[in-house]
Amino acid sequence: MVDQTFPNRPPLPVGSIGLHSAGFTGMALLILSEASVFAYLFFAYFYFSVQPHSGAWPPSGPPSFKYSALQAGIMLIGCATAWWANRSAARGARPAVLLALGLSLLLALSFIALQFADWYDKPYSLASDAASSFYFVITGVHLAHVVAGALMIAAVLVWSALGYFGPVRHVPILVTAFYWYFLAVAYLWLFFTLYGTPRLA
């Protein structure tokens, strides 16, 4: 762009930059909207839990911490590796970026495996009663988001290996890390709602 108004003004930097980038704004808005999805899912769940029940709620007792506690831990460690990937990219340390993203991908895949283990561990199914419907649908919606996150991590891992990113350009890694932070917060929220609140009653 030629500046006719102030010819002496230093030229503006070119590109979609860091927290000002279009990708970051887009991800922030996506997260706002997806966080609303989770908020309404939990609203519906609490709407059920405050109704008068004939027996216990959930009827088969609160879901166990056997796998879910591990899953919550994995989400949090994933935040650390994602943050590390972004920081290493900013410093231009490509081997560290690849290692951090590789670990993040591994954590995402083990989260997915543990979620299936958690499901198969249950004696009830989707169609048993309202509480089991909520359990499978809410964890399922979160799992779908984690699968999307794993795909994103795999993509930026490949792109980093191909040498697309460096100290100047690494917004896609930042955006992926940002999405993972959201997944972690959403899981903690889910963990508190589905696994925690029935124990408080």
Binding site: L12, P13, I17, A22, E34, V37, A127, A130
Partner: protein
Amino acid sequence: MIWGTLSANAAGMLVVPTVSVACFFLWMDRNFGTHFFEAQRGGQPLLWQHLFWMFAHPWVYMIVLPAMGIVSDAIPTFCRRPLVGYTAVVLSTVLTQMIGFGVWLHHMFTTGLPVLGLSFFGATSLLITIPSAVQVFSWVATIWTGRPVFTTAMLFFTGFIVLFVIGGVSGFMSGAVPVDWELHNTYFIVGHIHYVLIGINLFPVIGAVYYWFPKITGRLLNETLGKINFWIMFVGFNVGFFTMHITGLMGMPRRLYTYPAGLGWHVPNLITTIGAFILAFGILLFFINVGYSLKRGAIAGPNPWDAHSLEWSVSSPPPPYNFAVIPSVASRHPLWEDRIGEGEGRSVLDRGLVLDDHHETLGVSVFDGVPDMIFKMPSPTYLPLLLTLCISAGFAGLISHIWAISYAGLGLGVLVSLIWLWPREEVGQRELLHG
């Protein structure tokens, strides 16, 4: 209008997910035997109403606020003066949307909810009339203190104000809990919804077409036909839909397609039918006018209404790139600055950053709008369209239970997203932020 669409978009991101969740629950109930809504299997049918109205009431404001914004933008042009109380109008626009998140229960006053809930949501529903009234008084004051020119567009906008007041008052009435208990299942509510959806949305939108048609096509819509068009629509609308309120007060329930003779509802229903046909004829005249004026309308020139905002500074229709240089805007009425002496400094429309290096746009700071970078924009591409088609195929497969199509659609969608987002040197970041 910017503030109206901004409020609507923000609300869209926050409340569209409720209706998605509701529809998803319903789909799961029907296909996989979950227990969300069916009472006899432990579900809560009323949850559907909650989730639906948590979306649908803010949605009413999502379609109304941009339409009200059109009126706030265009009325000054035809009154030859700036809008009275611009800041108050902006604040009430945003406030209406915000209060609009907390009124959904007023659609459910008769479902046996606790009194505390009814009182709270009754109060918020009445409260929302305050920001709405601020806007009405502002439009009336603009017309009162200006020198109004009653073109067809202006007729639609003033007609809208009248319909807005009637629809608002009938809404205010049914927002009061005891009145709603009387009116809820009657035709009064049907009359109200016609006023708010057609009166408050369709009228300003048709007015907006009369206002911006010359900018879009380069030709004016025919004014004589336009005035006939307005009066037929306005008369037909009120004859048809005002009568619905009376039918409702006479006790006719809504969602009724037939009833026994001798209940005394024949005459008002006949009047409603006649009014609806007159309105439909008026809308037909509008389409005839559009078709006729596209070919034979008077040539408009860049600024046929002597309007104040930026779009009128370029030729009609505008060039594909809109502005050759990015203009610097110093006030709310850049084309009227010399006449009304608003603010300090003057807008600069003919010099600035030249758009001479492919697709570019400015990135600015959030609060002050100071340019701090140049975005490289991607060139036109079919990939987003392709992605949309893949997602549509995916969901069509889910609805019709043809799972192969849904797997294929969603899988291809992931692939297309990858190609779309593949890092390209020419649009990526090249420098760190200066300073």
